[in-house]
C-alpha cells in the first residue's frame, strides 16, 4: 500500500492503494467517484475515459500511482459551476445521445477532448474519434448528432446520409 495524491475535479485528494490498483479503481473505490464506469477488461470500451492533465485517458489502462500529482477530470467535474449541465452534457440530453447511460460518462469525456482539439469536427471525424468508445444502446446516431450540435453546427438536416 502506498499513498497516492492527485487533484480530481479541482480538489486535492489522496488514498492508500496497492501498486496494482488502477486509476479507475481508485476513483470508483476510495474516492467514491462512481460516475466513471468499467465496461471491459481489455481497454476497448471507453466507459472509463477521464482526462489526465488535459488529455483523454482510459482510466482502466493506467495505474493509480502513475497519476500521482496529476490533474484529473471526471464526469463529476463536467457540469457548470452552478450545477447546470455543461454544453456537451446538455447536447446529449437535447439530442437523446444516451439511453442506459452506462457508456455516457466516457462518451462525454471523449467528446470534450475531441472538441478541445477540433472545435468543429465533421461527422466522419467524430465517428473516427469515437472508435474507442462503445455504445450498445444508441446506434451512435444521436451521439454524433449531439457532438455536432455541441460544437455549434447545424444538425437540423441530418437524415439518411
Amino acid at each position: 500500500m502506498a499513498k497516492v495524491s492527485m487533484r480530481v475535479n479541482g480538489k486535492s485528494v489522496s488514498a492508500d492503494v496497492e501498486g496494482r490498483t488502477l486509476l479507475v479503481e481508485m476513483l470508483r473505490g476510495p474516492l467514491g467517484l462512481t460516475g466513471t464506469h468499467v465496461g471491459c477488461d481489455t481497454s476497448q470500451c471507453g466507459a472509463c475515459v477521464v482526462h489526465v492533465n488535459g488529455k483523454a485517458v482510459k482510466a482502466c489502462t493506467m495505474f493509480a500511482a502513475e497519476a500521482e500529482g496529476a490533474e484529473v477530470t471526471t464526469i463529476e467535474g463536467m457540469a457548470n459551476a452552478d450545477g447546470s449541465l455543461g454544453t456537451i452534457q446538455q447536447a446529449f440530453q437535447d439530442y437523446h445521445g444516451l439511453q442506459c447511460g452506462f457508456c455516457t460518462p466516457g462518451m462525454v469525456m471523449s467528446a470534450a477532448a475531441l472538441l478541445k482539439d477540433n472545435p468543429k469536427p465533421t461527422e466522419s471525424e467524430i465517428r473516427h474519434y469515437l472508435e474507442g468508445n462503445i455504445c450498445r444502446c444508441t446506434g451512435y446516431h444521436n451521439i454524433v448528432k449531439a457532438i455536432q450540435a455541441a460544437s455549434g453546427q447545424d444538425v437540423g438536416a441530418i437524415a439518411a446520409e
Binding site: E18, R20, R28, L33, T34, G35, T36, H37, V38, G39, C40, D41, T42, Q44, C45, A47, T74, I75, E76, M78, A79, L85, Q89, F92, Q93, D94, H96, L98, Q99, C100, G101, F102, C103, T104, P105, V108, E123, S124, I126, R127, H128, L130, E131, N133, I134, C135, R136, C137, T138, G139, Y140, H141, N142, I143, V144, K145, I158, A159, A160, E161
Partner: protein
Amino acid sequence: MPKDTGIGASSKRREDVRFLTGDGNYTDDINVHGQAYVHFLRSDVAHAKINGIDTSAAEGMPGVIRIFTGKDFEAVGGLPCGWQVTDRHGQPMQEPKHPVLAHGKVRHVGDPICAVVAETLAQARDAAEAIELDLEILPAVINMKEAVKDGAPKVHDDLTSNLCYDWGFVEENRAAVDEAISKAAHVTTLELVNNRLIANPMEPRVAVGQWEKGTGDYTLYTTSQNPHVIRLLMGAFVLGIPEHKLRVVAPDVGGGFGSKIFHYAEEAFCTWAAKECRRPVKWTSTRSEAFMTDAHGRDHVTRIELALDADHNFTALRTETYANMGAYLSTFAPSVPTWLHGTLMAGNYKTPLIYVNVKAVFTNTVPVDAYRGAGRPEATFQLERVIDKAARELGVDPIELRRKNFVTEFPYATPVAVEYDTGDYNATMDKLIEIADIAGFEARAEESKKKGLWRGLGVNSYIEACGIAPSNLVGQLGARAGLYESATVRVNATGGLVVMTGSHSHGQGHETAFPQVVADMIGIPEDMVEVVHGDTANTPMGMGTYGSRSLAVGGSAMVRATEKIIAKAKKIAAHIMEASDSDIELKDGKFTVAGTDKSLAWGDVTLAAYVPHNYPLKDMEPGLEETAFYDPNNFTYPAGAYACEVEVDPETGKVTVARFAAADDFGNIINPMIVDGQVHGGIAQGIGQALLENCAYDEAGQLISASYMDYAMPRADDVPFYSVDHSCQTPCTHNPLGVKGCGEAGAIGSPPAVVNAVIDALQRGGKNVTHIDMPLSPARVWAAMNGATANEGAAQPAARDSGSAEGRSLGGQV
C-alpha cells in the same frame, strides 16, 4: 404541430441528468457496509469430469473467508427453466439440472466450479489460483448436427441424448405442406445460419447479496430487467426463501437486450453466501467473464423452402431448424426457437400452409436464450432472405413479390396460431420507398461504380409479435409464469403522483415516457408524476421489461390504475360540488360540473382524499391509491419495411453501409424521440449481426471470441446516420393506448436488409453469389465472390467454405 408535453411529445429525458453528471446508481456503485467479495473459479475446458477439488492451500491465503464448491449447494435447488416445450410426439422436453456451482461435471467454458469469498477482490482472485482442480477432460460436443448423432458424447449423462426437443408446428399441417411443396410451380430453398451473438450490454452483470441477522431478511441488488421474476425464481425454486423475506433491487441498469432477464447462478450464490458468511457478498463480472457467462443469443441453423404458384403467390413454407440451447436451459431458452419464432413464420404474408420443425440441442457451450428480438429476428431473416432469393430466381422485383403476397385484410389469422389485429404493410413499404429514396438508387450506384465500388440495395419487410403476453395462452404453450404487468398509482395529498410499475427501465426512458401518459390523462404537468421501478419492496408484483412489452402491457396497467384514480377522484369532486358523478368532467387538471360554472382544481380533490373533512366517508374509503394488473388479450404486431444500401469493395470484400432507412408502424407513439432512439439502437445491433458480430467456438469448445478484441462490436464508424419514420400508424386494437412496442424492431428488421443489399451488390458486380452466412466479414465476402463464377452451383459452397458459423470456425472474425 408536434406537441410539447404529454402523449406524442418528445419530452427530454429526466433520467439523463443523473446519467450525464455521474450520479447514476448502477449496481456496481452500491457498496454495502462490511461487504466481502467473491471470485468464481470457472472451467477453462468445455467438458470434463470433476475428479477432485483441493482447496486446502487456498483456504489459508490472506483474507479468505470461505471457499464454496458444488457440494455446498447439494441441498439447494438448481436454476429453474421457466418454459416447458412439448415435442412433436406430445412428450415434454428433456430438462437437465442446472446447479449453482458445477457438480460432478463441467459443461462449458465458464461453468463455475468454486467460489472464493474474501475480504478483497484481489485476495479472492489470488486464493482461487491456489485451488487445485483434478479435471478429467471429456470430448466436447459443439456442432449441433454432430451432437444429435448416435454415439455423440452426452452433455448430460442422465438424459437420453443431446436433443432437448424435436418440435413440430403446426404438426397437423405437415402432410398438407409437404404436398403443396411437391406440387408447387417453383420452390426456393435456402440454407442459412443465424449467427450466435452476445448481447453485450455495456454494464457487466453485478450482484450484491445481503442478509440481516436481526430480521432474517435477504436483499439482492442485481443488474436485472425484472427484479420480481428473479425474486420468485430464486426464492421459490433455488434457495427456498419466501418472497416476503426477500427483496430484489435492480437500480439503474446499464442495458440488457434480453441478457439480464434470466436468473443467473451468481445472483443465487451471493444471496445465499451472505447468510452463510454473515457478510454481504459482492460480485462484479469482468467483461471476460461476461462473454462466457451471460446467456448468448440466436445460433440457429435452418433450411427453408418457399413454394410459389405460377402467379408467384406463396403457397407453402417449410423449415427445419437446429437451435442451440448450450449446456443448460437458461430461464426462457426453450420458448425462443419455438413460440417466439414458429409463430412468426407467416411474416407479413398470406402463405396458407406453414410447417416449422425445430430441434433444440444441448452442446458444451454457454446457455443460449433471448437476445433483442428473440426468435423473431431468426424468423424474419429466413423469410426475407428466401423471398429475396425467390425474386431473383423468378426474375421479378423483390418489392413487388412481397406486395403481391402481403396480408391486407385485418384481423388476419395466420396458419401459425396468431391473429394479427391490424397493420398496413403497403403503407410502410410506400413510406420506405420515399424515405430511402429508392428512386435515386441507380444514380448512387453509378457514383459508387466511379469509385470502383459495387453498390447494392436490400429491402425487406418484417413483423414481430410483442407486448408479451396473454397469460392463459402462454400457459397453454408451456410458460411457467403469467405475463401480465402491474402498476400502482399513488396520488399524494398535494396532487403529485407516483407510478410504481413492475416494468423496468434500463435505457428505455420509462421515467420520462410513463409520466407523459398519466399527465395527459389528468391534465397536469409531467413533472408532477414520478416513476418508481426496480425494487420489489416498493412496486407491485410485475414481470419486468423484455419483448417490447413495457408500454403495451406495463403502460396499459398504468392507464387502468389511473382510470380508477380518476373515477374515484370524480366521485370526491361530485360530493364536494354537490353534483352527480356522471356530470363531472376532468380536463386540464380541473374538475367541472357539466352545464354549470362550478369547478375544483385537481389538488383540491387530492387534498380532500387525505383530509376527508368534507368527504363521502359512508360510501368511500379515504385516500387515492389504486393498483391495476393488466393481462393483454393478444400480442401486438409492430411491422414495417427496411432498406439498406451497401458499397462492396471488390478488391477486399469490405462492406460499408452507405444508407439505412426504416419505416415502422408502432401504432400510437408516446415519445417520438425515444422511439427513434430505440430504432437506431436496434438497427446498429442488426448491422452488427449482419456484418461484424460472431460468437465463435473452436472444435474443443474454447470460446475464441471472448473479448472486444475478438468479438467485433459495432463502433461509431461502422454505421451511418439512419433515416427512420414511424408516421404509418395503425393503432393496436386491444390495448388502451393503441401502442405496439418498438424496442426490438430495429434488430429484427435490419439483418436481412443488409444481407440482401450485399447479395445485390455482388450480383450487380457480376458475381452469382446467392447467399453468404452472417457476419459478412470481408473474408467471407471476398471468398464468396472469388469462389463464385457466373455459375449458381459454385456460389453456395464457396460461401460456406469461407467460414460458415455452422462449422464454428473463426471465419467471421478474420
